[in-house]
Amino acid sequence: MYHGYSLKEWLTTTNHKRIGILYIITAVFFLIIAGTLGMLMRVQLAAPDQTFLDPFQYDQVVTLHGLLMILWVLTPLGAGLANYVVPLQIGAKDLAFPRLNATSYWTYLFSGVLLVGTVFLPNGGPNTGWTLYAPLNTIQFSPQPGATLAILALGLLAVSITMASINFLTTIVKNRAKGMTWTRLPIFSWSILMTMALALFAFPPLAAGLALLTSDRVLGTVFFSSTQGGSILWDELFWFFGHPEVYIVVFPALGIIAEVFMTFAKRPLFQRKIFIIEFAAVTFLSMGVWMHHMFTTGVNYDVLQAFSVTTLAISVPFEGLVLGLVLTLYKGRIRLTAPMLFCIAAIFTVTLGGVTGVLQAFPTLDYAFRGTYWVVGHFHYVMAGTTLFGLIAGLYYWWPKITNRKYNETFAKITFAISFIGFNILYFPYFFLLDMPRRISTYSVLSGWASLNFDATVGAFVFGPAVILTILNLIISYRKNVPCESNPWEAKEMEWTGDYSGSLSTSQIPTTPNSPESSKLQEDDVK
């Protein structure tokens, strides 16, 4: 049964591989829910003056789509792949605290169930947008119990991710096999280290904010309902979490892109050391840019300008990361497999999403962009483009590792083409909807937004099914039960070979190779 294990074994497992698989399955499940919600929004906005959803329903759909996609889909999908791959890459038997890992997973699952469950409560779920701005999030303006439950679910998720970050940081620092020095640490493990370090710093302030908000809603305190700075307080706490969260989401995808590029270009990473330094610089700087989400709140303008500068500063190392990835292909021996194609698409979207983000870093320009579909286009290029494409590439790339099956390459390439085209039809028009406010449930004919919105809806009906087809491809290949070879990509990384000495991650091969006993891992560690 189930991958050779009984149901009980799945429910009680503390093995990092099976927990990784559980994470991936759950995240894909939430992806389908959140994607469906996205489709509902596109249906509603396909034409002017539609009444398919009423404004309150639409608000709930917007909120759940945002919360689910960012926190219950993209973050855990990266964590799931990390769960499976990182211990293999660093030569650890398991994560440092296996039971904590299991607790982290189940907490994540139940928090997601609670969040989705809010819509079945009387008066519906949260309707405040995923940013939960105060004082709209207080009991006075959103009295439904579903909104309280959503906040508690978010808090539970914060606990889950904090547990995961404790686990991964300890594992990567303490559980590396003999010989797996920091310079040899594979780049995906580096990216997870940075992700988890960021998560450690980002989620506690959110948890603090949620604690205050919960006490507001349950105990009747007045932190966010008071007019004495309550709105700005929430902004500060939320965005101190919210901006690093964007990087928490995108880092695993960048790590995957690096691994895939190295494997399919048969090249070491371009300037690996500089790449890691740039990675660390982005991690560090991303803690200091959150106030660019508050340019129009009217707080002290000099502070905002300082944050504008840090935001621009972060684009320099980030650009270095992208260039490093592109130059990895230089003089390579490139095989355009499905993961490679997805990664190339992800680089395209991260570049476009990135430069549009840089434009928003100028307060003057952001005064116009804020709260419009331009912003929606920007972050969907980064999130739905880079992150989702990167994670799909990761799934394709490690699928032979996880399931011992090869997916159908032709089918995968076709779905790639469809999803890439659909993606661009869906999100590119957003850059031209410069004056359309976000989160409006409908618009009038006079606004002139109808044709672009119709395009986007058409794109949604191409992109959504393409993602489903991708998932189907993976499932079908698993059901077909044709085992593949153990290293179909001729990859050089530890998780495939069980030996780091030939790894493309390190720019220098050790001059004195370690003895086979210490560098070669035991068979069942890698399999």
Binding site: F201, L233, V303
Partner: protein, 89 residues
């Protein structure tokens, strides 16, 4: 590892510092000066506890960097929040 006398000595120091905080409160002087002094005493107490009772002094800077980073994060959040308070256009 430190000896029992050191631990008790530190405890005594912490208690005295606590009493001092309360005394400083009732002294005449500018409100901001009192806040500053009390803040410094509280910070010193926290540092002493973490250095000796949590024996960070003996663990070395590499481990101490972790809580230190967290504290720096908090201070950064606080400083930024403080600046945004300044209402000026």
């Amino acid at each position: 590892m430190a000896g029992i006398k050191l631990y008790i000595g530190i405890w005594l120091g912490l208690v005295i510092a606590t009493v001092m905080e309360v005394v400083v409160r009732s002294l005449p002087g500018g409100a901001s000066l009192i806040v500053l002094v009390i803040g410094l005493i509280a910070g010193a107490k926290a540092i002493v506890i973490s250095l000796y009772y949590q024996h960070l002094r003996y663990e070395g800077i590499r481990l101490a960097a972790l809580p230190l980073a967290a504290v720096i994060g908090v201070v950064f959040l606080g400083v930024s929040a403080a600046f945004t308070l300044a209402m000026g256009m």
